[in-house]
Subunit: 154 residues, 3 copies
Amino acid sequence: MKPQRRSLLKRLFASVAGITGLGVAASKAEASVAAPQKEVFNVVNEKDVPLFSGSTKLGNLVFVAGKGYHKEGDIKVHTDEVLKELEKELIKAGSSMEKVLKVNVYLHDLNDYKGMNEVYKGRFGSKPPVRTTVAVYGGVPGDSLVEMDCIAYI
Amino acid sequence: MKPQRRSLLKRLFASVAGITGLGVAASKAEASVAAPQKEVFNVVNEKDVPLFSGSTKLGNLVFVAGKGYHKEGDIKVHTDEVLKELEKELIKAGSSMEKVLKVNVYLHDLNDYKGMNEVYKGRFGSKPPVRTTVAVYGGVPGDSLVEMDCIAYI
Amino acid sequence: MKPQRRSLLKRLFASVAGITGLGVAASKAEASVAAPQKEVFNVVNEKDVPLFSGSTKLGNLVFVAGKGYHKEGDIKVHTDEVLKELEKELIKAGSSMEKVLKVNVYLHDLNDYKGMNEVYKGRFGSKPPVRTTVAVYGGVPGDSLVEMDCIAYI
């Protein structure tokens, strides 16, 4: 096999692997690929045992944990802080607000729907993610007025 | 490099790229690939600012927003209308009910579980998606008796 | 085209296809690829009509249905049994607890949060999935104290 051709194959393969987030271990005469593995960020422990991660990544998909805000404030303050928490996780994982595909919003009270929207709108850019909103009336952990999670890409 | 070989490489590459939903920009001697980008459909604005999309698409994955029905009717009417709304979004994004992978169902009242099932069953073909159902007792926006979202593929 | 080169192309292509979970139908001079198709496991019927699946698989992604436990027991018993149900579905689909990316937890009562955590922690290995937890106060079907679903990979 001529060096030129092998080189093209390698570049081609590296491109495909790069896009799908695969690691490449190319030996001299043969290209082989490791299966995609999960990466995790900001692991939270419970008594030194892993409980959940702030985000997980597989290939070009990023999953962010449900975020609440556990201090004083109305729905606008809580929505703003929760969105900032999502953004921190997204950036940590190599993504961004503009690359979010799906958001789930869990309100403490459905009466906060409009206030949440006022702060929420525009925060994900001109091509916003899909969204599913429900209220759970006392069901959000840690007295947060709203909890949100998301799925994004890199 | 001989034309024949380059041609095969291009076809191979086009196939892989087509499957994973990637755009291809092949120059003369080298193939390069653009990273997958999000597409969005049916964007809903709040005071001219993008709030959420009806669906988002990345590669061959499609995410559909939570859908409710905001008119009169019992759980069977609401379930039927919500499923029709999901189907519209799926078709718009190039998918279908048969290609749904996961559905989340949020009932207003758990007593509607059986009525919802009666209308829901069979609507996604012989290989139905997974489903997670909970009731949120007043937590569905816009007085809908049920809200559903889904993840699908194309 | 020399046999040696074609052989390398085939191996390369088989590797890529294998990773992305695609079927390969390679003819003599040309490689062609079938689009990824959904697989489903443990389909549940309602009066002989498909209602939902225990899990669905597309490429290397696995989606598991919401699981509850419908017998006696406190939150620790229910959490343990629900996690075992998730694991069964994951293994059936070719995945495992260590390969879970995202979990959604729906508690009957937010007061069970700590008890759920005690049993939950460590069950997904050292790189745990993200998690979103809310309580729905009577909204979990079948009197289960907790319902969980997940997204994983293979």
